[in-house]
Symmetry: C2
Subunit: 356 residues, 2 copies
């Protein structure tokens, strides 16, 4: 008998929850069971607008979702400042947690969340969707081949979009009391993750925010650029912004090859994603022109993320498996670098060591 699908409860009705709700419905091993909001009307409206099944429950509080014994897992798209409180309460209620990024206001807060998850035997995974696209594994194959790519030396990653006037005034991500990181936590999170991913998640020894950070009147980061430095001489730069046209570029340069993607965060086509490689290229030599590689997927990356999370939860629930340790480790390393960049900005763009 196939295991029953993982029943999700959604905490809050953030914009991103629409996309993930669809993913939970599309994923074969999960189902939408409940949504909770501070207002039950809002929850009901959200459930209706997003095609929740008739059987789904709507609650007028987040607590009610956690109190529902049928809920296996929660998806937490709340403002970052509320992550620690609700992730910890979810863990204590024995709910597995799919947590939006940035996962916490700082690594100390994240460690409290992770401790609770471990104590309560629940799975946690952050919402970095592109990690689950099959393109990512294909790109890793290229990076891991010494003859094709060689040794990684440099990465540049850029994720920017232009927030509307309304976004720049009213969005959760520009409010100092709701989100401490702004563009750094929202788009910079993906840049940092892509750099760490290319570096096999080896932490840099230090980071430096460049003296070009743009803050809003509340001190929230609207745009910044930073560099990461490793002991062995590897380096990386990234640029994140709410103020300019959309870019989602990532380029990793090795001694033998180059990997480039121009939509690494969200492929511009849901079912088909490209990346570009070149190897041992010189001027006018064969191989100079980048090769395009196309990777198809039946399910969009956010659905694959939900499927993988649900698979892990299913193993715990049905087979008594232990929670997977890799995903929280990747969240924590990303948060460590994020924190260090924020400290560098707060200290007037000084070099900051990355805590291990």
């Amino acid at each position: 008998m196939a295991p029953s699908p993982i029943k999700f409860g959604i905490l809050g009705c953030a914009g991103i929850a629409r996309k993930v709700s669809r993913a939970i419905m599309l994923s074969p091993n999960s189902t939408l069971h409940a949504v909770g909001s501070r207002s039950i009307e809002k929850a009901a409206k959200f459930a209706k607008e997003n095609g929740f099944p008739e059987s789904a429950r709507v609650y007028g509080s987040y607590d009610a979702v956690l109190d529902d014994p049928e809920v296996d897992a929660v998806y937490v798209p709340l403002p970052t400042s509320l992550h620690a409180e609700w992730a910890i309460r979810a863990a204590r209620a024995g709910k597995h947690i799919l947590l939006e990024k940035p996962v916490a206001l700082n690594v100390e807060e994240l460690d409290r969340i992770l401790d609770e998850c471990e104590s309560n035997g629940v799975q946690i995974m952050d919402g970095t969707m592109w990690m689950h696209h099959p393109r990512t594994a294909k790109m890793k194959g290229f990076l891991s081949d010494p003859s094709l790519f060689g040794e990684l030396k440099s990465v540049h990653s850029s994720f920017t979009f232009r927030g509307s006037k309304d976004f720049l005034v009213n969005d959760i991500r520009v409010k100092p009391e709701l989100d401490g990181f702004g563009a750094l936590g929202d788009t910079g999170w993906y840049c940092i993750r892509s750099i760490l991913w290319a570096a096999d998640f080896e932490l840099p020894k230090s980071v430096l925010a460049l003296p070009t950070t743009i803050l809003n009147s509340g001190g929230v980061i609207l745009a910044c650029t930073a560099s990461l430095h490793w002991q062995d001489g590897k380096s990386a730069t990234f640029h994140c912004s709410f103020l300019v046209n959309m870019t989602m570029d990532s380029t990793a340069i090795g001694t033998n090859g180059t990997l480039h993607s121009n939509d690494f965060v969200v492929p511009l086509d849901e079912n088909k994603a490209s990346f570009y490689t070149s190897q041992k290229s010189g001027f006018f030599e064969p191989g100079s022109k980048p090769n395009e590689h196309i990777v198809t997927t039946e399910l969009p990356q956010e659905t694959l993320m939900v499927s993988e999370f649900s698979r892990l939860v299913g193993c715990i629930k049905s087979d008594g498996a232990q929670p997977d340790k890799m995903w929280p480790i990747l969240s924590r390393k990303t948060q460590l670098v994020l924190d260090a960049v924020k400290v560098s900005i707060d200290r007037g763009h000084q070099i900051v060591e990355v805590a291990a």
Copy 2:
């Protein structure tokens, strides 16, 4: 009657002189008249191997080229440390000067060259070939359109190639006594130029070399990354290296659009060059996918450079025109930024103001 072609003398037999010799032959308004080397045998071999006309003269010194009254213009591909001496001597001999980059060891030296050019009424232009490709003008058209591109906010440029073992030991560009800048002067020059070009040659107020510079045992830069910062909040980063696979990427991000080229320095196809634009792009919105623009040219960019230089020289020679002022201004601005980045490296990666 069509004006007679501009007669070029080449000072030295550097590798790049092969490419420019071919360009002088291909350009309809120029001709190869002479080549001088410290050894007449080397000059003769160079002339033969590069298809110089039968009538071309070979000389056993650079002086002899300058003494030849028929020489209109010289191409100077000598090591950077020799530029000031030979460019000044050429100017005093009334020869127009096509000068390889980096143009000088510092802006003070360049100013001495430019003063001599001005005093002697000779044209000077540096060897930044891509400036003359018709793609460059097309890209500028995109950047200059407020509705398509908007306001420039950020540029990232990367020009890297992997020098062979022999290159890293023996090339002029890694010898401290011959070239003070290494990868910064060689590939970084193009990055800096592309950034200034995108910024309409507005100088940044400051630069910062990131703490990731790699020097050889003689103190020559093998790889570095730097950022440029403007008064209005614009910023740019660039990465140059002799140690990794080839990249020639440049991305300019504006409030409304993005411009990208993956071979901005030397198009991978001599007669056809691409660039990519996107405008007002969002997630899954029409316009998200970059548009490829293809620009064809009958003559390769180095030939177009020689043609433009020769056209200017022809106007001076035949019509009594004054030397064009734009090209030396662009050389000087590029050198100013180059100097500031070098100072930042020498000062242990401190922020350095750019002298105006």
